[in-house]
C-alpha cells in the first residue's frame, strides 16, 4: 500500500526550505521527514511558523500566541498558513546514508520516517556532525530540534538498551560539538532529563 505523505515542500531559498503540512497538522520540531521520488533526502524539522498571506498583514496585532489564534478567531484560517522549516540531513542511495549532495525539489512530498529507518540513519556518525554544522544563528531552534529528535529516538528503546545508546550518542555529540560547549551541554541536559 502506498504510504500517505504528510507535508509538501513549497519554498526553497538556499537552505531556507519551507514545507506545508497536510491539513494544517502540527509537526513537531525535531521530527524526521523524507522524500522518496526524485531524490531520497532525509530532513529535520527545525522550526514551525505561521505566514500571513495578506500583503502587509500582521496577525501579531491580536496579541495572543499563534497556537491560540485559530481557537479564538477561527477566521484567521483563511489567511494564515502553518508551515515548517526543514533542513536536509542526509541522502540515501538504497544502500547507504551519506551527507546530502542533491538539492531538494519544489513540491516534493514528504513522508514520515519510521523508527527502523531512524535507527539505520543514526548508525552513521556523520549525522551528528551534520547536526552540529547547522547554523544556530539562522535556525535558533536548532538545539531544541536536536533534543526532540534524540529524545524521540531514545524513547523507542527499552530501558537497558536506552542507557547504552544514550552513552554512545553523548560521545558522538561530544566530538561533533567540540567547538560549542554551551550547545553541547544544553542538548545533553535536554536529552538526559
Amino acid at each position: 500500500m502506498e504510504e500517505k505523505h504528510i507535508a509538501e515542500i513549497i519554498s526553497i531559498d538556499g537552505l531556507e526550505i519551507l514545507a506545508e503540512p497536510k491539513e494544517k497538522a502540527t509537526i513537531q520540531v525535531g521530527t524526521l521527514l523524507k522524500t522518496t521520488k526524485i531524490n531520497n533526502l532525509i530532513f529535520l524539522v527545525l522550526d514551525d511558523l505561521y505566514i500571513n498571506m495578506i500583503p502587509g498583514g500582521s496577525h501579531e496585532s491580536y496579541g495572543i500566541p499563534e497556537e491560540k489564534l485559530q481557537e479564538e478567531y477561527p477566521h484567521v484560517n483563511d489567511y494564515l498558513r502553518y508551515l515548517i522549516k526543514i533542513y536536509p540531513l542526509a541522502e540515501f542511495d538504497k544502500e547507504h546514508y551519506f551527507p546530502f549532495t542533491k538539492s531538494p525539489v519544489m513540491n516534493a512530498l514528504l513522508y514520515e520516517v519510521k523508527f527502523e529507518e531512524t535507527k539505520k540513519i543514526f548508525d552513521n556518525i556523520f549525522v551528528m556532525l551534520e547536526l552540529a554544522r547547522i547554523d544556530s544563528n539562522r535556525f535558533p531552534k536548532r538545539n531544541k530540534a536536536i533534543i526532540g529528535l534524540l529524545k524521540n529516538y531514545l524513547s523507542e528503546f527499552d530501558k537497558d538498551e536506552r542507557s547504552e545508546r544514550l552513552k554512545e550518542l553523548i560521545l558522538e555529540l561530544s566530538t561533533a560539538f567540540r567547538k560549542d560547549y554551551a550547545s553541547l551541554m544544553e542538548i545533553v541536559r535536554g536529552v538526559k532529563g
Binding site: 542507557s163 544514550l166 552513552k167 553523548i170 560521545l171 555529540l173 561530544s174 566530538t175 560539538f177 567540540r178 560547549y181 554551551a182 553541547l184 551541554m185 545533553v188 541536559r189 538526559k192
Partner: protein, 518 residues
C-alpha cells in the same frame, strides 16, 4: 583492533632538547594509571626513544568548562562527564634519555635527535629494558615503579668509581646495599670491605619473613667476618688493634663522643708530637703520675688541659680489642684477605653493638692501614678492585674532617689504586660537596629533608626533573642514576628474599672456568 591499539597510549605533540617531549594521552587511558617516574617508549621513524615521565597535566580546550562544569557521576551516571570528554585531555611531559636503534639487537645510545610530531607513544616492554646495559654486565636490581619488567645496573661501572646510597632510616638502604654487594661478590667484580655498623651483612639477617641468609652464608668461600667482640659466634677472626695503629686523627674523629674540651685537640697534637707512645702515656701512664705539674711542664702544655685530655680518653679503655701490643696483626690479615679476593665484613657485636665510638674509631684505623698499604702498590700489583662500604659516612666525610680524613682521601684519590668507596648515609647534606661531586653512581631512596635532596644531586645533570621523581619515592623504592646506568632508573628495589638467595647461591659452571684465570 582494541587489543592492537592498547599498547599505544598517545602521540607526540611537541618537544625540545632542553624541555623534553610532550604527548597527548589517548582519551581511553586513565591518567591515574600513569605516574611520575614511569617509563614509556616513543616510536620515531629511524629510532625509538626510551623516556621517563616528568609531569602530567590535565588540560581543557575551553574555559567555558569551568563556568558550567559537568555534574557528578552519582547524579547522572556520568552522562555529563562523558559529554565533556572532547573538551578535556591529558598532556604528559617525558624526557628522552636513551635512543634505541630500530635493530632490536643493538644497545641504546645517547639521544641526539628528536622524534617527529605524532610519533606514537607506547608502554615499555621488557625487551626495551634489556637494551639499556650490555647483557654480560647487567645485574637485575629491581622493577619500574608501576610494572614488573626487570631493570639492570652495570656493576662493573659502579665499582669503578665511588658510589653513594642515600635514604632516611627504614627506607631500605641496608637491604638494597646487600643486593649490590651480593652482585659484586657473585660476579667477581670486586672485593668488598664492609664496615657493618648494624651487623646486617655477615651471617644472617632478620627480615619481615624471619631470619634469612646474609653475605657470609651466601658466599662462605669468599666472605670472611671479622669482629671486634669475642662474644660473636659468627666471626672468623677477632680484631685486635695495637696502640701503635692509632693516630691522633682517629681520636679527633670521635672527639665529640669523648666530650673533648675546647683545648683538648690542641693538647693532643702537642703530646703526640712529643711522645711516640702518646696513647699509652695518656691512657695508662699519666693517670698514675705523681707529679703531674712536672710532666705538663716538660711537655709544655697546660696542666688542666692535659688532665682533661687524659680523663676524656679513658673511655677508650672500655674497648677491649685495643691492646698495648697485639700478638697478631688482624688488620694485616684483613688486608691479605682483600688482596686475595676475599671480601671482609667488619662487625661490631656484643658490647660494641651500635656503638658509634667503636664504629668510627675502628673503621678509620683499619682503612688508614689499607690506604697506606695500597698506595704503595703500583697499578699492576693491585689486581683486585676493592670497594669499601661505610655507613654513617657523613661523619668521616663532613666538611670538618674529610680534607684530612682517610676516607676523604680515598674518595678523592684512590680510583687509581682500584679502591673506591660505597657510601651509605641518611644525611647526605652533611657530606662535603667536594666529596659528593666525586660520587659516580647514586642510589637514592626516600629522603624528606630538602637539604638532603639537594645534596644528592650535587654535580648531577637533569636535577630539576629528577627531584620531582625523588619526591614521590616510598620505602623500598630508589632512583638510580650516574655512571653505572645510562639513564636515571626509578625502581622498586627487588626483594632480598629466598628467591634472591637461591639465585646468588646458584653456581654458574660455564662462567667459573673463565673467572678462574683471574
Amino acid at each position: 583492533m582494541e587489543k592492537e591499539l592498547s599498547n599505544y597510549i598517545g602521540y607526540i605533540t611537541s618537544g625540545s632538547f632542553g624541555e623534553g617531549l610532550t604527548f597527548k594521552l589517548n582519551t581511553y587511558v586513565n591518567p591515574e594509571n600513569i605516574r611520575i617516574g614511569d617509563f614509556v617508549v616513543v616510536e620515531g621513524k629511524n629510532m625509538d626513544y626510551l623516556c621517563v615521565v616528568d609531569d602530567i597535566r590535565l588540560k581543557v580546550t575551553t574555559d567555558e568548562v569551568f563556568f558550567d562544569p559537568p555534574v557528578d557521576e552519582d547524579v547522572d551516571d556520568g552522562i555529563e562527564k562523558l559529554a565533556v570528554s572532547s573538551f578535556v585531555y591529558n598532556e604528559i611531559s617525558i624526557f628522552p634519555y636513551l635512543s634505541l636503534p630500530k635493530d632490536p639487537n643493538s644497545y641504546g645510545t645517547t639521544v641526539k635527535t628528536l622524534p617527529t610530531h605524532f610519533s606514537k607513544v607506547r608502554s615499555v616492554k621488557s625487551t626495551d629494558f634489556r637494551r639499556i646495559i650490555p647483557e654480560k654486565n647487567a645485574f637485575y636490581i629491581g622493577t619500574p615503579l608501576t610494572s614488573k619488567e626487570k631493570l639492570y645496573i652495570d656493576l662493573e661501572k659502579l665499582s669503578m668509581r665511588n658510589s653513594g646510597l642515600f635514604g632516611i632510616t627504614g627506607s631500605g638502604k641496608s637491604f638494597f646495599a646487600r643486593i649490590i654487594f651480593a652482585g659484586l661478590i657473585k660476579n667477581k667484580i670486586s672485593t668488598l670491605l664492609i664496615f657493618d655498623m648494624h651487623n646486617e651483612h655477615g651471617r644472617s639477617i632478620r627480615s619481615e619473613s624471619g631470619k634469612i641468609d646474609s653475605l657470609a652464608s651466601l658466599f662462605s668461600e669468599s666472605v670472611k667476618i671479622f669482629d671486634v667482640s669475642k662474644s660473636s659466634k659468627d666471626a672468623n677472626t677477632y680484631i685486635e688493634i695495637a696502640y701503635e695503629d692509632v693516630e691522633p686523627e682517629d681520636v679527633v674523629l670521635v672527639s665529640d663522643i669523648l666530650q673533648f674540651s675546647p683545648k683538648s685537640e690542641e693538647t693532643l697534637e702537642i703530646v703526640s708530637r712529643r711522645r711516640k707512645d702518646w696513647l699509652k702515656f695518656l691512657l695508662d701512664e699519666y693517670p698514675n703520675v705523681k707529679d703531674k705539674k712536672e710532666v705538663s711542664d716538660e711537655l709544655a702544655v697546660n696542666l688542666e688541659s692535659l688532665d682533661a685530655l687524659s680523663r676524656h680518653l679513658q673511655k677508650l679503655k672500655n674497648l677491649k680489642f685495643l691492646k698495648e701490643t697485639s700478638s697478631r696483626d688482624s688488620i694485616k690479615s684483613i688486608i691479605e684477605n682483600l688482596k686475595n679476593g676475599i671480601s671482609v665484613v667488619v662487625q661490631f657485636s656484643g658490647d660494641y653493638k651500635d656503638d658509634r665510638l667503636t664504629y668510627y674509631f675502628v673503621s678509620n684505623i683499619i682503612t688508614r692501614r689499607i690506604f697506606n698499604e695500597f698506595s704503595n702498590l703500583t697499578e699492576d700489583t693491585q689486581k683486585n678492585r676493592v670497594v669499601i662500604a661505610i655507613e654513617e659516612a657523613h661523619k668521616f666525610l663532613s666538611k670538618q674532617y674529610q680534607a684530612n680524613n682517610v676516607f676523604g682521601r680515598i674518595a678523592r684519590e684512590m680510583r687509581k689504586f682500584n679502591v673506591t668507596l660505597f657510601i651509605i648515609d641518611q644525611r647526605p647534606s652533611e657530606i662535603d660537596p667536594e666529596v659528593l661531586s666525586q660520587i659516580g653512581t647514586r642510589l637514592v631512596m626516600e629522603l624528606k629533608d630538602e637539604n638532603d635532596i639537594n645534596a644528592v644531586f650535587q654535580g648531577a645533570s637533569h636535577t630539576k626533573r629528577l627531584v620531582k621523581i625523588l619526591s614521590t619515592l616510598e620505602q623500598k623504592q630508589a632512583l638510580v642514576f650516574g655512571y653505572a646506568v645510562p639513564l636515571p632508573l626509578p625502581i622498586n628495589v627487588r626483594s632480598y628474599d629466598e628467591e634472591f638467595i637461591d639465585e646468588m647461591k646458584e653456581v654458574k659452571t660455564t662462567k667459573s672456568v673463565k673467572d678462574d684465570i683471574y
